[in-house]
Amino acid sequence: MSTFRRVVLLALGLAVMVSVAARAQDARQQLSSSSVIEEIKRNGVLRVGISTFVPWSMRDKKGDLIGFEIDVANQVAKDMGVKAEFVPTAWDGIIPALLAGKFDVIISGMSITPQRNLTVNFTVPYAHSGQQMTANKKLAGGFKSLEDFNDPKVTITCRRGTSTCVAAKKIFPKATFREFDDEAQCLQEVLNGNAHAVVTSAPKPRMWTLDHPDTLFMPTDENLTKSDEAFAVRKGDPDAINFFDNWILFNTSNGWLDERHDYWFKGNAWKDQVSSN
């Protein structure tokens, strides 16, 4: 190989390396500047998709949004130096709305499931909840064990499109399920005696049982299933996942998330703010 050829090859090799390196840096810059985190900082607004679900997020007497989720989102926004803007969304359309860019992140008590994870990315969980069941005394009072609910003659209600519904169907595969758009209808069917039991996220079944001690009872005090709730963001955005993951980690370690969770899920201090019962 002549010297000339060597020089040409070396030059070519260098040129390729430089351009590859430059392109890699380009891609990195592009990736981080197109992250939703940068967009949020640019606009000064964190748009959060929520769906009303007591006590995750609800309306107080003034019509303002309150709840565990609202506290969490406001704190995230505060730590980013931006304002949180809430986009109340029908639960059925919350994932498509995220994908269509109607908001930046879903913080709405969404449980991690593999199916959902195929369409959106989840952070690490910021809350751990479970499903409980409350049943009609007249219809199910004679049942001896949970196994008695696993019968085609038994009707169980749950909220459509929730992971609760999926989980409940796994536990009671033989039972008849009726799915409603919101929890109030699920409960009303049981109160009216049209369904034996309702399954939904803790702590609602316990709250309902306390509200209607003559009609309802809890077949078991234990949670039927456990689930982990996380923020959901659009796919292909590693920076956003990293930021939210570490925000959750940070606020789990310092106890803030636990404290807020207990305030909304275990205590009654907020009951006066809503006129529910």
Binding site: G63, P88, N192
Partner: protein
Amino acid sequence: MRGALPLTEAFAGKHRGVPPTARPALRFTWLDALIIALVVGTGVYIGYRINDVLNYHWRWSRVAEYIVRWDERRGVWVPNLLLQGFFMTLRLAVWGIFWAALLGLVMGIFRTSRLLLPRLGAFIYVGLVRNTPPLVFIFIFYFFISGQIVPLLGLDRLAATASPTVSAIITALCGEPKLLVNFATGLMCLALFEGAYVTEIVRAGIQSIERGQWEAGRSLGLSPLRLLRLVILPQAFRRILPPLAGQFVSLIKTSSIVSLISIQELTFSAGEAAVTTGGVFEVWLIAAGMYLAICYPCSVFFDHLERRLNPLGGN
């Protein structure tokens, strides 16, 4: 009863000005009393049975606060969730009727055009919209199409940069500026959807006008546009008013489905209030009452208009 009048007297001009189909004088008979008693009785019985069948604590007070609330800081009553939703539905209704009527008129004329292109365009529009379920149409429109159109209109920039006066005008006409994009999307869905039905009503109206009218207009040397404006449309309008009125009332009720794409109108607000308070039946009964409060005056208005335009009771 007018029937009791001798025919000759009626024709002698004694009752001139009373059209033949004017309402007969009201007379209360035992049959009316019986029917009213039956209706009231059934209502009371159903009300009584509801308490039997329905295991439910009625507590109107917990819901009342979600209609209006007392703002202690400013010392005034302010509309809360339900009333805000009511206003949003009212805005959707007014704007929806306006745009659907405009779209329907243009497309209706296109449908009867002698040129192929407009006729084909309107045909495709009506065919696509009328043969898809409203829910599917709204989902497709919201997630795939509105995302492309709304940014082009620059509404989000307008909302963000509006001066206080402009912002106040926007608030009065379309609700909170922050939700302007949201409102516009819902409105577009509604107008496009209902516009297709109005198109067909307009088309039928235009086609119902006798050929002689067209020929007479043309022989007077009217241009196609003036012929439509001066001869055809006024007559067609009178004929299509009853189905049009029905369509507009149906538009108001259909506006509830845009709650599925999270437009904060009455149905959406009612859903939120129902979940939060647990007063499901109270909230939905109030919402039904509010829809009635919008739709009924609308029906009455169209009835009135119809009678004014057709003083002789139709043709």
